[in-house]
Amino acid sequence: MNKAQIWLPVVLVAQLLILATIVSKHENIMANGEVVYLRTMPVDPRDIFRGDYVVLDYELVHRAKGLMQENNLRADNVYLNLRTNQRDVANLVSVDSTAPTLGLFVRGFASAFDHSYLPKLQLGIEKYFVEQGAGKELEAIRGEAQSWQTPLEMRVALGSDGTPVITGHRFSPIRTRTRFAEQEDALAQPDAPPQHLEFSIENSRLAPLTLFDDQAHCGFALVHAETLRPVALNRNCSKAVLKRIELFPGDRYQVEIDLSQLQWQAKGQSDPLSLAEVDRAWNGFRLVYQGQVDTPTADAEQILSARFFRRGGVD
């Protein structure tokens, strides 16, 4: 028996062991892991080796990036502490560089920084592989810019070390639409930015949805699109008394914001285009429904608008 005859089976066994290790770890998490839903903002490309997939842009990853930047947290492995709401959608509570001993958490990797010095945080589940053509169907339900959009919520099992494994998906029962009221070609001046932003929320689930808001829209916050951190605005909502709004199935609630008003300008700047300056640095904004200002909780339903730019345009 020559050397090749001895070593070839060794290679085969090693290959099988490697595959078995990967498969058993993921199967174990799928069978025994705690299941949560992670809200996403997807697009649809193709992998040459693995076919169609949907790129998943997790909302909580954006929030975690903002927290990491704010706390100057730098670590290759980070742990995102989560709390689920009534619909089992996970919201971010905090980010740590060490694995928590208790509670729900997911592990992320942040070994590099992007051009804005934000950590390139990834959970390792940013691709959702689907049968060829199915990605387009998901995209169609998700909706296009300025039309009604339905966020995809990924069903994820979490291992004891925070390893996430995707086990399925569903669509959020809350649809949104983000657009500027003015058509860009109908503006008085061709180069003038649009002023009136419309953000609509529709309840398409069976149970009523409760929102809290007032005329100044203190139930909503303007946030940076990348980090979802609030933009400091010339307004004070700390004493606002928010009105309870019940959205029954099929009902819609529309928020109209005049971005030229002082209260929607960046703090300390009276220039009507001051947001545009921030915009250039932060790649756009989103409007987020935050509920009661005094008592924001991780349990609340967080509703996010599409990304928009102060100079015009909605993604």
């Binding site: 005859q5 090693a14 080796f49 693995r50 076919g51 691709k127 592989f129």
Partner: protein, 424 residues
């Protein structure tokens, strides 16, 4: 003897026998002197290699469709059964003898393992650090290459390890990474038992990845380290070479790259003479020192080797001396006073470049390689023009430079022709 030469000999021998110059016995005796090399059926190997790669890619793409109605366990079962079956068939055929079919099946085995890796990552929607998939696939291909010892496996391993290292270096900005060690292992294996072209290919790939890592570590393109590592490869090439044609084959691309590009940079691009590493203890610094140590050890190895090719001894020694001077200059750049590092260094590197050109012209003359003589004579002329046109304002001096270069080229041509006539 190469197949083309054998075919020529067979045709000629048949003609001699037909004309009665040799007898049938003599004809057979001549043919018996030059037997056809065993397993030299390239065509068959290529067919099996293509078949394995295309079949393997077909299987990868089949699973890439991601059949929703097919349970994940069934998908895994199909690809694992296929892998085990092909592995068994390879093992069985290897027991008898090395054949193109066995090597082709071995390649298909590698492709199927790759398909299994991608399938598993697809089933579980894994997107964590994709170079790791190429690492597993590449290391497996490397293991099979070492066991089966055929260039097809080595080439596949080189491609996969290059993708792994490239992704780590260019996408994730790695510096010192295990992928470099894997490429080095493949280089050593190619050194021991693979064809020269594959050795050269793996040397270039390793060098490219090493330099990318150094660039990531230092933030500047490390021309100096290019010089040191190129010298290292050239020295190793000499050490490995058993005949003039062999080492020229291996260094055919490396030497012009070294002389033309790097020495040109050193001679004319003053800004390019930045240190590839600093005196601080950065990874680049250690890699730089490592490269220097390797150059020294290569020289030492070379000195201890018996003279394998007497005709080229002078050229080899001269090339090595020039390399040693270049490296010494480069490595001491950090300690050379600023006032000395301007035109003095430029001139030194120009002299080295000119000396290299003259050595190549001499070598080309001796071996009667017209293209080599022509290219390096032209390079010599370009060096003279580029360097001295900016120095001479006087038209008379410029014309003199043209006349001298023209005469020099004529002299080279005459010398080449004379050597050719003498040999004829």
């Amino acid at each position: 003897m190469k197949n083309a030469h054998l075919r020529w000999l067979q045709q000629q021998a048949a003609e001699w026998r037909g004309k009665g110059i040799i007898s049938e016995q003599q004809h057979q005796a001549i043919l018996a002197l030059y037997p056809e090399p065993a397993n030299n059926n390239w065509g068959q190997w290529l067919i099996y290699a293509f078949a394995a790669v295309i079949l393997g890619l077909g299987i990868v793409l089949f699973f890439a469709y991601n059949w929703q109605d097919m349970h994940r366990y069934l998908k895994l079962l199909v690809v694992l059964t296929a892998t085990c079956s092909v592995a068994t068939a390879t093992w069985f055929l290897q027991r008898k003898s090395t054949s193109p079919l066995a090597d082709g099946l071995g390649l298909l085995w590698s492709m199927l393992f790759g398909a299994a890796i991608w399938l598993v990552s697809q089933i579980y929607h894994m997107d964590e650090h994709y170079p790791n998939f190429f690492m597993l696939w590449g290391l497996s291909a490397l293991a099979l290459a070492i066991i089966l010892k055929h260039w097809m496996h080595s080439l596949l391993a080189l491609l996969l390890l290059a993708v792994w290292a490239g992704a780590e270096m260019w996408e994730y900005n790695a510096t010192l990474h295990p992928a470099l060690a894997a490429l080095l292992a493949l280089y050593v294996f190619c050194w021991r038992s693979q064809p020269g072209w594959l050795l050269l290919l793996s040397a270039y790939t390793s060098l490219l990845m090493l330099l990318s890592g150094l660039y990531n570590a230092s933030g500047v393109f490390p021309e100096m380290v290019v010089l040191a590592t190129s010298s290292l490869l050239i020295c190793l090439g000499y050490a490995k070479g058993t005949s003039a044609s062999q080492y020229q084959l291996r260094l055919g691309l490396l030497y012009p790259a070294y002389t033309v590009v790097l020495l040109w940079l050193l001679a004319f691009g003053f800004d390019a003479k930045q240190l590839g590493w600093s005196t601080e203890e950065t990874p680049a610094h250690w890699l730089g020192l490592l490269a220097c140590a390797a150059v020294v050890s290569a020289f030492a190895t070379l000195l201890m080797l018996p003279d394998q090719c007497k005709n080229s001894r002078l050229e080899r020694s001269a090339h090595l001396v020039l390399l040693a001077i270049s490296n010494a200059l480069v490595l001491s750049l950090a300690y050379i006073p600023r006032w000395l590092s301007g035109q003095v260094l430029d001139m030194l590197f120009i002299l080295i470049l000119v000396a290299h050109c003259m050595l190549f012209i001499r070598q080309g003359n001796r071996q009667q390689r017209g293209l080599m003589v022509g290219c390096f004579a032209l390079l010599l002329a370009i060096v003279v023009f580029v360097r001295f046109m900016d120095l001479f304002d006087n038209l008379l001096l410029r014309s003199l430079a043209f006349v001298l270069v023209g005469l020099g080229l004529f002299l080279v041509g005459w010398y080449y022709q004379r050597n050719k006539d003498v040999k004829a």
